[in-house]
């Protein structure tokens, strides 16, 4: 005689387990596809990879003149010493004076916006350092420069775009490549990067090897940061005591001991940071 009924409890148990399993799978799937009700992600700021840190690259030639000013405890004194060394119309002198003016104006001539953040503990330590270093600068040091005609001409001669207009695109490119290979002046570096980008002569495939090349506007947005970064590397002034680091951290606030790459890592969107360091790597490791 067959006995069908004893199988029923087993069958019922299997069905219940199957229903529960199906419901569990649905809940798992739902939680993975439903939009978040509220943003709950806690961002952990990871340190940039070591390869993003071309700071200890001893093969980068250091420009001692710019290093002296950018790391000076007394910027006024360092500028005076540089004025005695260089021609009065020297583009390098003009650039260093402009850097000092821009950085020191944050603390010496704060506007209403700057005053609102004076008490920010993330900025205060950097503002205090800038205050000490900028002490003694006089009004003319903090006023926008009015270069002489000959100084302007010397400056223009360094610009790739002017070289391209006066001579040829190739001449402009050659000048831009020279600046990118050697200069510690962020203004010339930015002009050179922009010129090569505009003329489609930046080797994007080489710079962005392994990743999709970003759009032109995204590269443009990163040019200034890349230029400052290259400039500070070539003057060994990317550390916490460098003028560009002080200037950046006084503006945006940084943890103690930050250097310029760490400051950029914190204040730039990920892609912009990536573009900047790839440009830096390309310019400094050629």
């Amino acid at each position: 005689m067959t006995r069908p009924w004893p199988m029923l409890p087993i069958a019922a148990l299997v069905l219940i387990i199957a229903m529960l399993l199906g419901n569990h799978l649905r809940m798992q799937w739902t939680s993975s596809t439903a939009p978040p009700a509220t943003p709950t992600t806690v961002l952990v700021l990871a340190e940039p990879a070591e390869e993003h840190w071309p700071l200890s690259n001893s093969s980068i030639p250091i420009d001692s003149t710019t290093m002296t000013v950018r790391r000076a405890a007394d910027i006024r004194g360092a500028l005076e010493a540089t004025r005695r060394q260089l021609d009065a119309d020297s583009p390098m002198l003009s650039s260093l004076a402009e850097e000092a003016r821009v950085a020191c104006s944050i603390v010496r001539r704060p506007d209403a916006s700057a005053r609102r953040v004076e008490s920010d503990p993330n900025r205060r330590v950097w503002l205090d350092q800038l205050l000490r270093r900028c002490a003694g600068l006089i009004d003319t040091d903090l006023a926008p420069p009015s270069p002489s005609g000959s100084a302007l001409e010397m400056w223009n001669q360094q610009l790739p775009l002017v070289a391209a207009l006066r001579t040829s695109i190739d001449a402009g490119e050659e000048l831009a490549q020279q600046h990118l290979a050697r200069s510690a002046d962020p203004r010339l570096l930015a002009e050179s990067l922009r010129f090569l980008l505009d003329q489609e002569r930046l080797p994007l495939a080489q710079i962005f090897r392994g990743v999709a090349p970003p759009s032109r506007v995204d590269i443009e947005a990163a040019l200034i940061f890349a230029a400052d970064w290259i400039g500070c590397l070539r003057s060994d002034s990317c550390a916490a005591d460098g003028l560009w680091t002080l200037y950046t951290c006084a503006q945006f606030g940084c943890p103690d001991g930050s250097d310029l790459p760490r400051a950029y890592y914190r204040i730039l969107p990920a892609q912009q940071y990536e573009i900047a360091w790839r440009l830096v790597r390309w310019a400094t490791r050629r």
Binding site: T2, P4, M7, I10, A11, V14, L15, I17, A18, M19, L20, L21, G22, N23, H24, L25, R26, W29, T30, T33, A34, P35, P36, A37, T38, P39, T41, V42, L43, L45, A112, S113, A114, R115, R116, V117, S119, D120, P121, N122, R123, A212, P214, S215, R216, V217, D218, F252, G253, Y265, R266, I267, L268, P269, A270, Q271
Partner: protein, 263 residues
Amino acid sequence: MRAWVVGTLLLAVVAVMLGLRSGGPQQAISASEIAPAVARPIGSEGHQATSFEVFHARDLAAALSRYAAQAPPRDVRRLRTEVDAACRVLALLEQDGRNPPDSRRDAARRELQKRCADLPVPSLYVPVGDTRMPPEELSDPVAAAAALAQLHGAMQPEVLVDAWLEAFRLDALPQHRIFPDQRRLLPAEAEALIRVVADWRECTRLNACGPGSLFALRVCALNGCEAGSDVQSAWHQALSPRDYESVLAIHAWLTNWQAGPMQ
């Protein structure tokens, strides 16, 4: 005996399928599924569009029409504002030269082009609040308290932004409590960040923060993002770590503070 085992297994498979299908909120439906479902002709029988469907519909114009036919005018206006903001991105990208091929923006841009195709081109004029940052910081305890009270009840995006900026202008915001590291915001930062927070809250309210929603497409088309990014992830990619931290902190503080009594 064998028949019992086979029958039980078959029933088990059916039961798993039933378990998968039963219950569950609408938001669990992925964008790829909802899009064809709402792409029906305007006036299709018995179907009323929800805001979720509008923000995920392939046929945005049709879904918007259905939504407008049955939703309160105030809700329709708010929803149209967000739709306009998303569709406006295409013109903005064109204007500032971000229209060449770009792997981080193209997918979102193409999707927006499809969805916005049958809608009128949105005006590039965006009305903004009257609040402007002052040249000097003001100090008025009574006005500051009133600004905080206004902010406490501010839920709609534009109201929230204006109330926040006014509270900031009067130095009424407890920034030392909002930010764990006690950072202070510059005026431009305060304005940019609250707009992200407002965007975030609005997409949450409208159940449209997921990948494929108009909110996510707008952020991705403007700033670029990885495929499949939701709104939070898209902003994570678009903002600096510091700003993203600030957005999270402001969002959390506002949510908790507005949920409690005004003191």
